[in-house]
């Protein structure tokens, strides 16, 4: 894993952050391509186990957007 291109795992709330990510697309807002996202219906869904598992799978950082 290189620090210049850390792999980020994101959990996006369907109603706000996922919608915002859609809106960013519609607005052609450009951001770095090193995030991989998982849609959840609310950030309240994020079990602590998900975060631990994310790091175990090599995530350099976890992003919870809600």
């Amino acid at each position: 894993m290189s620090d210049a291109n850390p792999k980020i795992l994101g959990f996006l709330c369907n109603w706000c952050c996922y919608a915002a990510a859609d809106a960013a697309g519609v607005a052609r807002y450009q951001y770095p391509p090193n995030i991989r996202t998982i849609r959840v219906m609310c950030t309240g869904r994020i079990d602590p186990a998900f975060i631990l598992q994310g790091f175990a799978q090599g995530a350099a950082g976890i992003f919870a957007g809600g």
Partner: protein
């Protein structure tokens, strides 16, 4: 988009010369039958809605602009087709002359609009928007292309439309306020001669010129009008009443879309719903008698131990995805993932033929999990879920991977990384889909009552329209009487009388038994969900206020707006500075000096980049109306209107012309050189005169500000209902184009000024539209609950009750089962947030569509460590 092939009668050898017929023998499914003849059919129907659209501006008009004499003078519709990935040039804009990419592109506005030379005095109301859109698209295709838009006024008066113009300017697109006098062939190029406000003439060469053609009345307007028996207006559009905008002069015949007045898509869609409401009221006795219920094939059972067979469909979205992401390699990588038995590409996954292909492939490859790799599940998941149901699969077996909004659009400069990200997201999507399970939808009965908040023209119209369709309505109004802004508007630009409308509406409401009115009332709390809301309102005058609980199935927000009291231009401190509404009240009175000898009107005072960001849409018409009224009372009066863009769209252009003919002086200004109200010995207006090219000071008797409109009470309601508002605090519709009166919260609708500034006729239409949408759940009588709700494993549940405490929606009940406490989901209240699942100490709770297994599989696929 024909989904099937079609014979062009002008090219067919058989139809023209009675020969050939090769196709008949070649077609394996024997689908070509030349013996078919047109037949007349007669149907008895209860109502007719005409929506013939619009016609084209004639080529004679276009010839004036060099169309036909230079190949690279094209119409905006032709240009639109050029930029379209599924168009004839597959999205590559090239000069017809020699195939080079145009580096200098000009748009000429108002071709066939605002032009009495071709009898189209009106403004087509859409060309400014599509020109800006096409310019932005062209600039995105080729950032080096220099684009100029030649215009008279930029009329982006729609909700948040000005933002797009600002975006275009930021991208370097030039807006030139100039009349193009001549279009001339200049070798490969085209030379435009134009004159600007300061009187200067300029020439400039362009590689391509796009004519922003207006919307004419449909070619067969007369024929349609004669058959249906209704009247047309002077421009051959359908004639309607300002306060009943969709009713033609023939009873039972309604008009929608551009044939009523040229308009854009959201306005057309709104009118469609409004016409449905009017028809629904007219024919309520027959509701349900003729309907055919859609039947789905029996669901193919998908068991836990069945072989998982995943199909991956990767969408090009025209070029929206494929111009950045290597779609072919995403599909071929997907083929390698475990359980993937089929992977393919498609140009538009959401098209009708793509649905047919999807159904076929499900059958052919016995697919039982589908991964649609395309755009957002927020907009397109329902479509694919429906297709799965048609194919006999449970709707929960489709999973969407968003490689457009979250990939191609946001990583446009990094195609390789975007492709790698797409592949990762597909791997994660496939991993999740393996764990997707069939889920059943629940249905819940609906309380067949509507709640309408706000008693202005929007609220009253909605309430009456819902009642006319047969459903009871609670209409609540904060003030002590109904009417809202109708009280402040004395007359309309077309000369109609709002007071009369108010009287009629109030009388109808009084008579309508299905509408109960609550004055001096405000909403306190709302609970429940679509079909089953329960609201508490505080009603009565201060001392006698009491709380009343109302049960209802839907909510319409018609809370209105009010005049914006700007702090600039000395409003409120200098006596002769008044607003257009104050002037209107004065003009309607009998005061002696109500129309003084000199009046200066300042448009956009407080709007469009002043203290408000947006355009309020109504002020230009109001200024023209009041200017005409002043001229009517006192023809000698000198009226000067200082404006940025006169936005008298549609047929209001006629009155704008009339005002100029009657001597009203219109002087444009730019934002950087805003007029000022200065106080010295006297209070004067200082402005920059673009013809004299210098500052001018004038001391009028009256200074009138067009101040714009602001919404009322949206902030509180937005919190109560969890309904989003825009940056300008108007309610945000669920989809700007396709769901213009619905909010993101199901069962909640919006109309009138609470949605955005608009004139009375548009408010009435929107209110009628909201009444159609609001009536839909009431007509159905049940609502379906999405199966993405919590599922509780009663064996694992220890009855601790943490979930009931953390649930924000009161969607978990504690029951006694065999003397043990057990949690149970109230599916209809559950929003699927999953807080309960993540807090359950025994992992007894899982979320439909977002299970522990599904998410963990996604995380493992993210790490790529799991065997995939």
């Amino acid at each position: 988009m024909p989904a099937t092939y079609y014979i062009d009668p002008d090219a067919c050898l058989y139809l023209k010369h009675d020969t050939c017929q090769i196709c008949v023998a070649t077609c394996q499914s024997k689908a070509i039958d030349f013996s078919q003849k047109p037949i007349d059919k007669t149907y008895a129907v209860g109502a007719v809605i005409v929506s013939p659209g619009f016609g084209k501006v004639s080529e004679d008009v276009l010839k004036e602009y060099g169309y036909g004499s230079h190949p690279d003078v094209v119409t905006s519709i032709e240009f639109e087709r050029m930029t379209n990935a599924s168009g004839p040039l597959e999205g590559e804009v090239k000069c017809f002359n020699d195939g080079r990419h145009p580096k200098a592109l000009a748009f000429i506005q108002c071709v066939g609009s605002r032009d009495i030379g071709c009898d189209n005095g009106y403004c087509s109301g859409v060309c400014c928007m599509y020109a800006i859109k096409e310019a932005i698209v062209a600039k995105e295709h080729d950032p080096e292309c220099e684009i100029s838009i030649f215009y008279m006024d930029i009329r982006t008066q729609g909700k948040d439309f000005d933002q797009a113009k600002l975006k275009a300017e930021a991208m370097g697109i030039k807006f030139i306020r100039a009349k193009v006098a001549d279009v001339m062939n200049w070798g490969k190029q085209i030379k435009l001669t134009y004159s600007e406000m300061d009187g200067s003439h300029s020439f400039a060469p362009f590689d391509m010129v796009v004519l922003s053609v207006g919307l004419e009345s449909p070619k067969d307007a007369r024929g349609i009008a004669d058959i249906a028996g209704f009247e047309l207006n002077q421009y051959d559009f359908c004639k309607t009443d300002e306060f009943d905008p969709l009713k033609t002069s023939k009873e039972g015949v309604f008009v929608v879309g551009a044939f009523q007045v040229p308009k854009d898509i959201p306005e057309s869609v709104t009118q469609s719903s409004a016409a449905a409401s009017l028809t629904s009221a007219l024919m309520k006795k027959y509701r349900g008698e003729g309907v055919v219920i859609k039947e789905y094939p029996t669901e193919i059972p998908v068991m836990d131990d069945d072989e998982v067979r995943v199909g991956v469909f990767v969408c090009h979205c025209g070029i929206n995805i494929s111009s950045v992401v290597d779609v072919a390699s995403v599909a071929s990588e997907a083929r390698e993932f475990g359980n993937v038995v089929y992977a393919t590409e498609s140009l538009y996954s959401c098209s009708q033929d793509a649905q047919e292909v999807l159904k076929e492939k499900i059958k052919e490859h016995k697919l039982n999990r589908i991964v649609m790799t395309a755009c957002s599940p927020r907009t397109h998941e329902p479509l694919f879920q429906e297709t799965l149901k048609d194919a006999g699969l449970n709707r929960s077996l489709v999973e969407m991977v968003n490689i457009r909004d979250h990939c191609s659009w946001v990583h446009a400069q990094e195609p390789e990384e975007a492709t790698a990200k797409s592949i990762d997201l597909v791997r994660m999507g496939v991993a999740k889909s393996r764990n997707n399970k069939p889920l059943t939808e629940q249905t819940v009965p609906v309380t067949k009552v509507a709640l309408v908040i706000g008693g202005g023209v929007a609220g009253m119209t909605t309430a009456l329209s819902i009642a006319a369709q047969g459903f009871p309505v609670h209409l609540i109004e904060r003030g002590e009487k109904l009417g809202g802004n109708l009280v402040n508007i004395k007359t309309t630009l077309r000369g109609e009388n709002p007071a009369k409308l108010l009287k009629e509406l109030t009388a109808k409401i009084k008579k309508e038994k299905l509408v109960s009115v609550y004055l001096n009332s405000e909403l306190q709390t709302v609970s429940g969900f679509v079909g089953n809301f329960s609201s508490v309102i505080a009603t009565g005058k201060t001392k006698k206020k009491k709380e009343v609980t109302l049960d209802h199935g839907v909510i319409v927000l018609a809370t209105g707006g009010t005049e914006h009291r700007t702090k600039n231009f000395k409003l409120g401190t200098v006596k002769k500075v008044v607003t257009q509404f104050e002037l209107e009240a004065k003009l309607a009175g009998k005061g002696k000096n109500r129309a003084p000898d000199s009046v200066v009107m300042i448009q956009c005072a407080g709007s469009r980049g002043d203290d408000l960001d947006y355009c309020s849409k109504v002020c230009c018409n109001q200024a023209v109306k009041n200017a005409l009224k002043i001229k009517d009372i006192n023809p000698e009066s000198q009226v000067i209107v200082l404006y940025r863009d006169m936005r008298t769209y549609g047929f209001a252009e006629d009155q704008y012309k009339e005002a100029r003919e009657k001597g009203v002086i219109f002087v444009p200004y730019e934002l950087a050189k805003k007029p000022k109200v200065l106080s010295g010995k006297t209070d004067v207006v200082e402005y920059f005169d673009p013809i004299l090219q210098e500052k001018v000071t004038i001391n009028p008797k009256l200074i009138v500000l067009s101040v714009g409109l602001v919404p009322e009470g949206t902030e509180t309601l937005s919190k109560l209902l969890k309904a989003p508002v825009t940056a300008n605090e108007f309610f945000l519709e669920a989809h700007v184009k396709l769901r213009p009166v619905e909010l993101a919260v199901e069962g909640v609708y919006v109309c009138g000024l609470a949605h955005g500034p608009k004139p009375i006729d548009e408010t009435i239409v929107q209110a009628q539209a909201a009444s159609a949408k609001a009536a839909m759940p009431l007509v159905k009588g049940t609502v379906k609950v999405a199966p993405t709700v919590s599922i509780i494993d009663k064996d694992k549940c220890i009855g601790c009750g943490i979930c009931t405490v953390v649930c924000p929606y009161n969607a978990i009940d504690m029951l006694k089962i065999d003397k043990k406490r057990k949690a149970e989901t109230v599916a209809a209240s559950c929003k699927g947030c999953g807080i309960c699942a993540s807090r359950c100490p025994t992992f007894a709770i899982d979320m439909g569509g977002f299970t522990q297994d599904q998410i963990l599989a996604q995380i493992k696929a993210f790490g790529n460590l799991e065997e995939v």
